[in-house]
Symmetry: C2
Subunit: 333 residues, 2 copies
């Protein structure tokens, strides 16, 4: 089953059920007006939502044409957004930029940070900044939305709580990262509103692409139409989503509707930008720049500037954008 949240006059938008081919939708309003409402009573409401999807696919309901430009973030405001660091090669490549002091690699227990979740951006919202010189970067990630998880949850409990899967763009202002981290209180100013793809999918609806608590699909990133990367999100995810959820629940319960990010998708290789059409590349600019510094003595790929557009999508074998595209233009606020 695939769901989306469409823009209406309310802050949480309107929940809709999509056809399997993503071309049509029907309102889920009689079952759950919003995605959070669906998540709050998931087990009770899932049969009704699934039945709507089946009727839509069978033609028993005509539905309306789905326009991703009408989509908000699946949860336009969420009660929690936790971002993990699932990919060690991302940490290896950017660690020097982040102002972290030592460290032996965090390969035993995943790093997590508490992100702002009050204003999550729609897939086509601009990336608004007050200053063009903040070293604006994207981070293409896989994210899951979960049901309630108790403190001290096991891997099995964590895995079973995964309700929906999508991709997101954890926008990062690199110039502010070191400040935030040296303060010692963690990311704050460096991580403005994260944006989300228009569609969320149940793990079951992803077939073989979802296994071992990972999404085994390439995440494709273009900047101004140029390919920057297409790393497979399942290839080198060291900590899977069950690991990240277990870690997040070590000292607290997690409420339904918590979003957990897997961290910037990253795969080890020795490419640099520009990459070939068959290359792997990078899911953020910071990694590309670190590689350039090592290879050429200086970073060549600029960060994003006002007017630039970044496009992010998870791509199936048939070329379909599985969750729809994130397409964001950088704009001065």
């Amino acid at each position: 089953m695939k769901l989306a949240t469409l823009r209406n006059s309310r802050p949480d938008g309107q929940l809709v059920v999509l056809s399997a081919d993503l071309t049509r939708f029907v309102s889920a309003g009689r079952i759950a007006p919003t995605l959070q409402a669906a998540l709050d009573d998931w087990n009770a409401l899932l049969p009704g939502l699934s039945a709507l999807a089946a009727q839509l696919d069978a033609g028993a309901i005509a539905g309306q044409p789905f326009d991703p430009a009408m989509a908000l973030a699946p949860l336009p405001r969420a009660y929690q957004w936790i971002d993990g660091a699932g990919y060690l090669s991302h940490l290896e490549r950017v660690r020097s930029l982040k102002g972290s002091k030592d460290e032996e690699l965090q390969s035993v227990r995943p790093l997590l940070y508490q992100g702002g979740s009050d204003s999550l951006s729609a897939p086509t919202d601009p990336i608004r900044v007050t200053d063009p010189d903040l070293a604006i970067d994207f981070e293409a990630e896989v994210a899951v939305i979960i049901g309630a998880v108790p403190m001290g949850a096991t891997r099995d409990q964590a895995s079973a709580a995964i309700r929906l899967v999508t991709v997101c763009n954890d926008v990062s202002l690199r110039r502010l990262v070191a400040d935030d981290l040296q303060n010692g209180f963690g990311f704050f100013h460096a991580k403005p509103s994260t944006s989300f793809a228009p569609i969320v999918a149940t793990p079951e609806s992803l077939g073989g692409a979802w296994r071992d608590d990972r999404l085994h699909l390439p995440v494709r990133i273009e900047v101004n139409g140029t390919l920057y990367g297409q790393p497979n999100a399942g290839a080198e995810m060291h900590f899977d989503f069950a690991d990240l959820i277990v870690e997040a629940a070590r000292t607290r319960n997690l409420a339904s509707g918590t979003i957990v990010g897997g961290g910037t998708v990253s795969v080890r290789h020795d490419e640099s930008l520009p990459i070939k059409a068959t290359g792997i590349g990078f899911a953020c600019i910071a990694e590309a720049r670190t590689v350039e510094k090592l290879k050429y003595g200086r970073a060549r790929t600029p960060f994003l500037k006002p007017g630039d557009t970044v496009r992010i999508a998870a791509v199936a074998g048939d070329g379909q954008s599985v969750f729809g595209d994130i397409v964001q233009r950088v704009a001065l606020a």
Copy 2:
């Protein structure tokens, strides 16, 4: 006007309006079923809520007896919880414990951290921990709930966005603080669910106790019936709530219903525990222990252990608990 959220079968509870003397309540359900709903349309709904309060105070509505034990956190789950560091003497006293590396004091721009907001504790909820040896501490703070604030807001915009005031207990697991901060990604495991007093009040309803964007009342803390502190929250708040909101909105919008904490209330003095009945004392155990280390060579006041009870309240001149009491017992999960 004073409001509370009472327990019902739903995760967000039921919004009620209180009488000025806090003894009676009437449901606000016909106007706004939940506090978040009220905050989403505050300007439109405030007249109706105020009218209910006036009718209750005039006896035109009988209302029902208010039992604080039925209260949830005002926002049992919120879209954002940002905690600031408004009191420099708290930072001075605990800095050595926190694993921060340098640092010249953060007296120019306030430190903020992004807290978990998905599961905020009721005033009488236990403090649940999985391990009794995590160095369990309370932090008594003033908190405000705000309306929407745009990125780059001015102090005037920030001040005008303050809708409601209360106190909270930012529960801290000191044994995990250094780990969290050395990881570089900020507080996560060290800050489990924050609890809130049962009542929120509009700034206007606090009279002279709310001025200069600060609460000028002592916040009284007892552990197992013994007074630990009663520092005045307005006396030495270096960064007021307008400062904290401006800082929080530097790179992003803040949504309505964002909760901003002022940081552990702290006042400079050379007392140590036990304090006299007229003493100032401490709003967290970590500060008391740092003072003891300096004075006596070792910390004498233990952290909380299972079975201990902490009580926190802001107290008016007439002895009234302005927002009701937070009363939490430590329990092994």
